[in-house]
Amino acid sequence: MMLKIKTILLVSMMLLLTGCSDDAENKQNPSANTLTKEEMEVEAPVNVSWADLVPAEYRPEKVVAKYQDLLDKFEAEDYSPEAEALYSKINDELNNAPMNQTLNNQHISLPGFIAPLTQHNGVITEFLLVPYFGACIHVPPPPVNQTVFVKVADHNGIKIDDSYGAFLVSGSILLDGKKTDIGVAGYHIKNAVIEPYDE
């Protein structure tokens, strides 16, 4: 009897595990979907995760590794000016991380939080979409390639009272290629369709 229960548990756990890994795989390969642009418009948007906004070949670990020797000199809780300067230098470099060029013009949907920029009579029409929100004082803000400027499609704005919580933003993501003094201009989505996000 005991044995039987154990096997059932084992089998169900294995099922659960495979379910998880399937899901993860799907999320990791959004660009595997090779549809033309026209088809994209009709097809449902590709679900993209924030990690996909960073190019696959770009590894923040490499940036950190480059400075590892210097980093080793400081303790974790070192707030000396030298340590601060080094951290801010590394952070700047991480902040100027490149965009994922393969995403350009793709019809995607991306969940995130909203930082309102422009509103008209209480309806938010432009905002920054970020992967997390509210805990900004403990850590630096999300880097440029983890921030998306969103312009909402007509009559699809979010009321300013409802702007807390997560939203799923769908639309064509564009990579503004122009280099400004302060790095690449970043991602933006125009004519975005917004809906509340539930997991």
Partner: protein, 418 residues
């Protein structure tokens, strides 16, 4: 139609109790619509006061406090920031434009704001509107002032009028900067924002009136207006500043950089984010207020039900006679529903009339005391839904006395003795 006539005539017979019920409905509808109107207008006012400004920077305080005192002129600033720091941040590569704000003085209860001419170029309200001059021009000289629409209106100031600013923000005249009067060179058009109630002068003007106040009170060493003009008048501190950036993707980074400024405690806020969080807090109060008003309306409707139930006895004969002359049973029910409908409709109309009358009367008073500009509008879809819901509820409630009357109208109505 005939039924309506009967209902009206029957109601007329009981006009005192009916009109009292109607009045209580009117008051509860007034309360519900009034609360709804005020909350919507307050919100419109707030969210339309600032737009297209990416960051507001001031001394470190709470984000909501910074927004309230710098833009809405509610409350007082916690501290000033140095002008040098302002210039440093304004020269950052990301920053497209910046406008300084210097507060702390007043003129007869209206706040005085020191700024520079860029304020007129970059300040935006109600989405894309910029400030327009009704008369005159923007300040150029140290002792020039531009006044908001309401300031000119309520104090009756023409162009060229000389005004004296007072130290502090109260409407009293204990400490005036009387030796350095300002000349009104421009009057702004109405904006329905706190700008209407503001006197705008240059930063140099603010500096000039405080030049001999450095000890905290007027120093014995008097410096004349003319002498002050020659003294350079480089501003040393400002209260806050607004700025716009080229690329808003980098806003978070810039905000962080300003908040972590090494030599001075600064706070940078994104107005949209702060307004949203302010509304998040206010939203809870709003819900409570709306719930209370809805309960008051419910109490009014139950009052109506009570009134209808108490008339049941006195109307026994009436119903019986109606049935005897050929009225259907359902006619009795309809009669009660019609009466309830009449009372609620009358009450709603009365409530709406009082609401608009109050808005007209209160408009200037609220603007003066709370800086809130009520614009008188038609009822919106939501408010009409509220009214329809009240009517529907009244009809449903009237079915109770209706059915009681219908059930006993024949059995006991024709008995000689009740």
């Amino acid at each position: 139609m005939k039924l309506l006539k009967i209902a009206l005539k029957s109601a007329w017979n009981r006009k005192v109790s009916i009109s009292l019920a109607m009045f209580s409905i009117a008051i509860s509808i007034l309360l519900l619509l009034g609360v709804d109107t005020i909350r919507k207008q307050a919100k419109d006012n707030f969210i339309n006061t600032i737009s297209q400004t990416d960051l507001i920077v001031g001394a470190r305080t709470s984000p909501i406090n910074l927004l309230l005192y710098s833009i809405f002129h509610i409350g007082s600033a916690t501290n000033n920031i140095s002008y040098a720091r302002y210039e440093e941040i304004a020269s950052f590569k990301q920053v497209k434009w910046s406008v300084p704000i210097s507060l702390g003085d007043s003129h007869r209860g209206f706040r005085v704001m020191g700024t520079d001419s860029d304020y007129f170029r970059y300040y935006r309200y109600a989405n894309t509107q910029s400030l327009q001059l009704q008369q005159g021009e923007v300040f150029k000289d140290v002792y020039d002032a531009v006044v908001g629409y309401d300031v000119a209106q309520s104090l009756g100031y023409p162009l060229g009028h000389n005004i004296v600013l007072s130290h502090g923000i109260a409407a009293t005249k204990f400490s005036e900067h009387a030796d350095k009067p300002f000349r009104i060179v421009g009057i702004l058009k109405k904006t329905n924002t706190p700008v209407d109630r503001t006197v705008l002068v240059s930063l140099q003007g603010i500096e000039a009136i405080h030049i001999d106040w450095q000890s905290g009170a007027r120093s014995a060493l008097r410096i004349s207006a003319k002498k002050a003009r020659q003294m350079g008048l480089q501003p040393k501190s400002i209260t806050a500043f607004m700025l716009g950036v080229d690329n808003r993707i980098t806003l978070f980074g810039l905000q962080r950089k300003i908040n972590n400024f090494p030599n001075e405690s600064l706070l940078a806020i994104m107005p949209g984010v702060t307004l949203a969080s302010l509304w998040q807090t206010m939203g809870e109060f709003e819900k409570v207020l709306m719930a209370v008003s809805a309960l008051v309306l419910l109490a009014g409707l139950i009052g109506l039900l009570t009134a209808l139930l108490t008339t049941l006895n006195e109307r026994r004969r009436e119903m019986a006679v109606l049935r005897a002359v050929g009225a259907h049973a359902y006619h009795v029910v309809v009669l009660f529903a019609l009466e309830a409908l009449l009372v609620v409709m009358g009450g709603a109309l009365l409530g709406i009339a009082i609401l608009y009358a109050m808005q007209v009367i209160m408009q200037p008073i609220i603007a003066e005391n709370y800086g809130l500009f009520l614009s008188i509008k038609m009822l919106d879809a939501e408010q009409i839904v509220i009214l329809l819901a009240a009517l529907l509820l009244a009809i449903i409630l009237s079915l109770i006395p209706g059915f009681i009357a219908y059930k006993r109208s024949l059995q006991d109505g024709l008995m000689v003795k009740i």
